[in-house]
Symmetry: C2
Subunit: 206 residues, 2 copies
């Protein structure tokens, strides 16, 4: 008696292929721009046919949105999630910032922070691609604000600090570190950001 | 006796036309990207023929470089020059930052800071257009560092501050204000930047 086996390999190949395509797409998008991301351009980059790519993504916009989600997953995995198990909110805040700096240092995306790159490109072009990218940057800001508030509740950040203001300042160091590191390839901006984060958090200590 | 007059009007028309074209180009570049700036696209935007534009700019790259220079002139006129007559280096530093915030508030360019926009777009694309844009952002950083050093020499900023570090932090507030203001259209990021600048300069006072 033969029993037809399920075909996990085939399905898994499909998944792996989609993931591999999207990994390449996130990298390309920080170099060529997410609007420069086309099904034919990506097909060349990953060595697939246009029709093969169309099987995965029905339109350029669908590809762009899937690319943003894929970058979000990378970002969550490298920057956000490792900080979530921190023993205190202040440590979580420090780790979120340091993980961000480290993902720049490690050149995870050739164009630096994926979301800074895509938000800067799309900020004046209304539509779902812009909305999804901006939403991600706002989620990030919200994570920093939330960590500040909890650190205040835990008595580690002074109650007189405005959480939105403090989160803005910390986030600002990260964004400029990103811009200058990508523009120059130098490590100095990353060190300047680290010192600024330390100094600002020391000033905010309860 | 008739004397042939020089023809300043004709020349002036030509100049005005070139300036008008470049003003439109700077605005377009912060929306469509400087790489999205083409002679044919710009010809449509200013209602001229492609051949008319080619008389001004022989190539796309020449147009891009002229657009960067034109944005530099706007920036110098609105942000840098008004600060240069300040009575002290600390006042100059404050005015440079405030003039920058105000040019965002006034929506001088629809995509916010021209140089942040172009640098973010071109940072991974080597060539003279990238170099010119990055050079401008470095000149700006240098102006801030120089003002900090002079304010230290004038005894208004504490000698223990590292000028490069302090300038980095001030510049960071400006860049994030730009990014968030363009993304949301809200005035809040501009106010957060103003408060951050005030707080940081108060902390740095001699």
């Amino acid at each position: 008696m033969t029993v037809e086996k399920p075909r996990p390999k085939r399905r898994s190949d499909g998944e792996r292929s989609r993931n591999a395509i999207l990994r390449e797409a996130t990298r390309l998008a920080t170099v060529e721009g997410i609007d420069g991301l086309s099904i034919s351009g990506l097909a060349d980059a990953v060595g697939m046919s246009k029709s093969g790519l169309f099987a995965h993504f029905g339109s350029k916009e669908e590809l762009q949105l899937a690319t943003i989600d894929a970058a979000g997953s990378v970002y969550n995995e490298l920057v956000v999630e490792p900080a979530l198990s921190a023993p205190s909110a202040l440590t979580r805040l420090r780790q979120l910032a340091e993980n961000f700096v480290r993902h720049l240092e490690d050149d995870v995306f050739p164009g630096g922070c994926f979301f800074a790159s895509v938000a800067a490109e799309m900020d004046t072009r209304p539509g779902p691609v812009r909305d999804r990218a901006v939403e991600f940057t706002q989620t990030w800001s919200g994570l920093l604000v939330q960590a500040v508030k909890e650190a205040q509740a835990e008595g580690e950040i002074d109650a007189s600090e405005d959480p939105v203001q403090l989160a803005f300042e910390l986030n600002a160091y990260l964004l400029l570190a990103n811009a200058q590191h990508v523009a120059t390839g130098e490590p100095l901006p990353l060190e300047l950001a680290r010192r600024a984060l330390d100094r600002r958090l020391a000033a905010a200590a309860a």
